[in-house]
Symmetry: C2
Subunit: 229 residues, 2 copies
DNA sequence: GTCTATACACAGATAGAC
DNA sequence: GTCTATCTGTGTATAGAC
């Protein structure tokens, strides 16, 4: 599966994500009409990503956000109780998207090697499709309150476990070499993260997401696969 | 070489770094006595790292810094012209340390495989020894003005080239497999970065820097080494 | 639902005494 | 060299008109 196929198969678009955010946080919003709320949330999210990509969430002022969205300060506060809550809302939604997608892809395949490939691909392709979310989730995690940061850590360990479980399973079947699978899972996660943390580099070097994924898979398989005698 | 050996062999300590910072920025400081300046710079740097690790540079107020160092606001401004300049000073010094060390280790070995190992090890060990510097340099890069950010990018590409040059050289000698060495260099850098970006994870999992380095090397060599026929 | 106007806290930075 | 006191801009957030 390449990126184009993934993109076509993956239903959700920006508007759908905004709708999910609305449904999950409806009780804290003064806006009641779904259509209005979703349209404006979409604008707000896009603006947040655009502003914070360059200077970070802390440095983004509510006036910046007002200017970029074309909405007034008063209007913005009808969509979330405060700046800190806005951060949590985005982080929560980001985590939900990743967990939901990876769990789904992990269930789709049976053979450990195919499963490993599917999960690695899905993670990187998803991070390409929702790059701003991934970048934001990583870079702004430390601005969360302890509870939020704990959720980030738990998520990191959850996705790591998906990978190490596959590796264990494959070792039991004689497909993968015995190794410290926890550590290998960490390395895989590091490679995945590279894609959305340093996008400027790959854009400049004209490396596509498909090339990147293939290289990651080659490296991982070169290390993990049991040698045929 | 393991981490302990690296640490013993690597001369510079925190005080020496503070001295380098003093010498490099002397003309912008109102403090003239080296001994006073170095001692206080050491305090200031430690305080910056401690505060920003949790909430970032933008969110650190000068009053936070004053409290943590035990120095007054007025005194702090005798050591640097402004908050933004303080950021540049730290970033510049961080880059200098990395470049200086890596170039040195790359020159030390002759055989491509040994050189590759030496450079990868040196980078990870250095990031362990000066973890706050590395973490800070990465996380706060986007708060720099364009010129500073360009320097960061140039540095990233410089260290990448050190690696890809070694891989090219090794391929010419038949030691490494033909591959997209640029991309492999990127992967290696991603693995190195993982160590200082997610230290909390490795502390929790009781993984030492030596274990980590060995795993990275095993993975890289498994992928790069030409297969013996 | 969205606007303008404004409250009030806190930021970075400096002046001038010691 | 270091301190305290203070200036001035900007931050988040809200009240109340439309």
């Amino acid at each position: 599966m390449n990126y184009d196929a993934f993109k076509k198969g993956y239903g959700a678009r920006h508007k759908d994500i905004a709708r999910q955010v609305f449904l999950a946080n409806q009780e804290n919003m003064r806006i009641k009409k779904e259509k209005t709320a979703v349209a404006n949330l979409e604008k707000i999210l896009a603006a947040v990503f655009s502003i914070t990509y360059k200077k970070g969430f802390q440095a983004m002022s509510m006036r910046d956000l007002s200017l970029k969205t074309g909405m007034s300060l008063g209007a913005l506060y009808a969509y979330f109780p405060g700046k800190e809550e806005l951060l949590s809302i985005i982080q929560d939604q980001g985590r939900y998207m990743v967990k939901d997608t990876l769990d789904r892809f992990a269930r789709q395949e049976d053979h450990p090697l195919e499963k490993l490939r599917a999960v690695i691909r899905a993670h990187i392709f998803l991070s390409e499709l929702f790059r701003p979310w991934f970048y934001f989730t990583f870079m702004e995690a430390r601005n969360l309150k302890p509870a939020g940061f704990d959720a980030v850590k738990a998520m990191e360990e959850h996705t790591q476990k998906i990978l190490s479980d596959i590796l264990e399973e494959g070792e039991a079947e004689g497909i993968f070499r015995p190794e410290n699978h926890e550590l290998t899972a960490c390395m895989i996660k590091a490679l995945q993260q590279e894609w959305y943390l340093k996008r400027w580099k790959y854009t400049r070097q004209k490396i596509t997401v498909d090339m990147f994924v293939d290289h990651v898979l080659a490296m991982v398989e070169g290390f993990c696969l049991a040698v045929k005698e």
